[in-house]
Amino acid sequence: MISDSIPSASVAMAASNPKDFAKKKRANRSAKLKQCKLDARREQWLSQVKNKGVCSKEEVNREGSTPGGPMLHLKNERGRPIEKLEIQPRSEEEIYGDGSSTHHYSDSESSLSNSPTSSVLGSNDSGLNFTGSSSSSSSGQSSISSSSINGCCSGNTSEEDEGDAGDDGCLDDWEVMADALAATDNKQKQHSPNSEFCSSLSEKHENAAELGSQLDATNQPFSGIGLLNANPESGGMTKQGGALNRCAWRPDDAYRPQSLPNLSKQYSFPLSSEKHFGQRGPVWGSKNLGPIPTTCPICFEDLDDTDSVFLPCLCGFRLCLFCHKRILEEDGRCPGCRKPYEFDPVEREATLDGGSLTIKLARSCSMMERS
C-alpha cells in the first residue's frame, strides 16, 4: 500500500507546485502585515484547497482500506501529545512572540487536558503496537518521508533559487508557518466530514506537531541551504502526503530532534518491565509460563534468586536446585510433566545458558527501573 502511494503523492506534488508557490508568496505578505489578514487568507485557501483535498481524500480512503493501518496512526497520534508539549512552547515563543503563541498554548493545554486518558489508553492498548510496529510500519513510513524530502530538495533547487532570492530568514519562518497552517486547514477539511469534535482535537495535536517539525527543520544547522529550499516543498508534501504520514516524527526520523524523549521507549518500557517483573525474568523457549512461585513446590522452601531463574524443564515447572538434584538422584522425571529430565550434557549446558541469560536481563531491568 505504502509503495503505491509514494509515486501518486509525488506526482500530485509536482503538479501542484506552481500553485503552492504563488500561495506562499501571498502568505508571506499577509503574515508580514497582520495576523488577522493571515486568517482571512486561510479562509481563501480553504476554498482553494477544497478541490485538491479530493486526491488526498482518496489517499485517506486507500489507507483506510488496509486493516489496522489507520488505527495505528490514530494511536500514534494519541500517544504523541506529551512529547509535543515538551518542546512546543519553547519553539513557539521563540518564533512567534505575539498573540499566536498564546493561542497555540491554549491548544496544547487543551490537548494536555485531553491527553491523560488517551495517553493511558495508548500505553495500554497500543504499547505492543508501538514496539512491534516501530520496526515495520513506522520505519517504512519514515523512510518515505525522508526520501521524499530529499527528492524535493534536489529537484526544485533551481526553481526556488530564482523565486526566493530575496527572502531572508524571518520570511522563511513565516513561510513555514503558513505552510503548516495550510496543511492543517487541508487536513481539517479532510477530517471534518467524519467527526468534527474528535478530529479537531487531533488536528490541534497535528497542527502543533507539524509547526514544531518544520520550525525545527529550519533550526537545523545544515538546513540553511538545502532545507530552506525544501521547506515549501515539505509544506506541499504535508498537504498531499498529510494523510500518508500525519505524525510529525517517526521515532527513527532523521530530522527528529535529539532532545525529544523517545516515546516508543517510554511507552514500551513500563509494559515490558511489568512483564519482566510479573514473571521475574522471561525464559526463552518455554511454552507455558505461569507466574513464578515464590516457594519451591516440592519442599515448600522459598526460592532464592538462583532458583527463581532456574528452569530445568521446558514445561516451565520450577523447583529449587536441591529438589532438582534429589529428583535427578531418584527417578529423574520432571514433577510438572513427568517427562525425564534431559541428562544430555549439551542440553544441560543450554538450559544453564538460558538461566544466565535471564539473570542478566533481570539485572539490567532492575537497573533501568532505578535510574
Binding site: P297, I298, C299, L319, R326, I327, R333, P335, G336
Partner: protein, 157 residues
C-alpha cells in the same frame, strides 16, 4: 528424612490455612507422628457415595515427596478400584504417575475424583468392576449406595 519432615510440616500449615477453602476434605495429622495422616472426605454428589464420609489413612514414606504416600480406605467402600477388604487404592498417581508436586491435599482430591469416575478396567474389587463392565450401572450403584449407607453414614437411631 529432614526434607520430608519439613515438607510435611509446611503442608500441615497449608492445610490449617485452607481448612475452610475445601469443605469436602478434612486432613488431620497424627498427634505424635507427622508421617501418619488421616483424612475424612465427603462422597461426591450425584454418585452412590453421596452423603457418606470416608476415612482415609495416609502413611508417608521418608522419601516423601519423591515417593508417593501410601493411602488406603479405612471406611468400607464398594468401588472397582478400591480393595474391599484392605481398602487399598488403585490409582496411578499413587503408583508410577506420582509427582513430587502433588500434596496430600491433592491426593485427597484425586481420590474424590476417582470415586466419581471409576475405572472398571483395572479393578481391585472384581465384583464391582464386573458389574460396571457388564453394563449394569444400576446394580453397581445400588450396591455402592448400600455399602455407603452401611459403612459411611452415621447410624440412625
Amino acid at each position: 528424612m529432614q526434607a520430608s519432615r519439613a515438607r510435611l510440616f509446611k503442608e500441615y500449615k497449608e492445610v490449617q490455612r485452607e481448612k475452610v477453602a475445601d469443605p469436602d476434605i478434612q486432613l488431620v495429622c497424627d498427634d505424635s507422628n507427622i508421617f501418619k495422616w488421616t483424612a475424612l472426605i465427603k462422597g461426591p454428589s450425584e454418585t452412590p457415595f453421596e452423603g457418606g464420609v470416608f476415612q482415609l489413612a495416609f502413611s508417608v514414606p521418608e522419601q516423601y515427596p519423591l515417593q508417593p504416600p501410601q493411602v488406603r480406605f479405612l471406611t468400607k467402600i464398594f468401588h472397582p478400584n478400591v480393595h474391599f477388604k484392605t481398602g487399598e487404592i488403585c490409582l496411578d498417581i499413587l503408583k508410577n504417575a506420582w509427582s513430587p508436586a502433588w500434596t496430600l491435599q491433592s491426593v485427597c482430591r484425586a481420590i474424590i475424583a476417582l470415586m466419581a469416575h471409576p475405572e472398571p478396567d483395572s479393578p481391585l474389587n472384581c465384583d464391582s468392576g464386573n458389574l460396571l463392565r457388564a453394563g449394569d450401572v444400576r446394580g453397581y450403584q445400588s450396591m455402592a449406595r448400600m455399602y455407603t449407607r452401611l459403612a459411611a453414614m452415621p447410624k440412625k437411631g
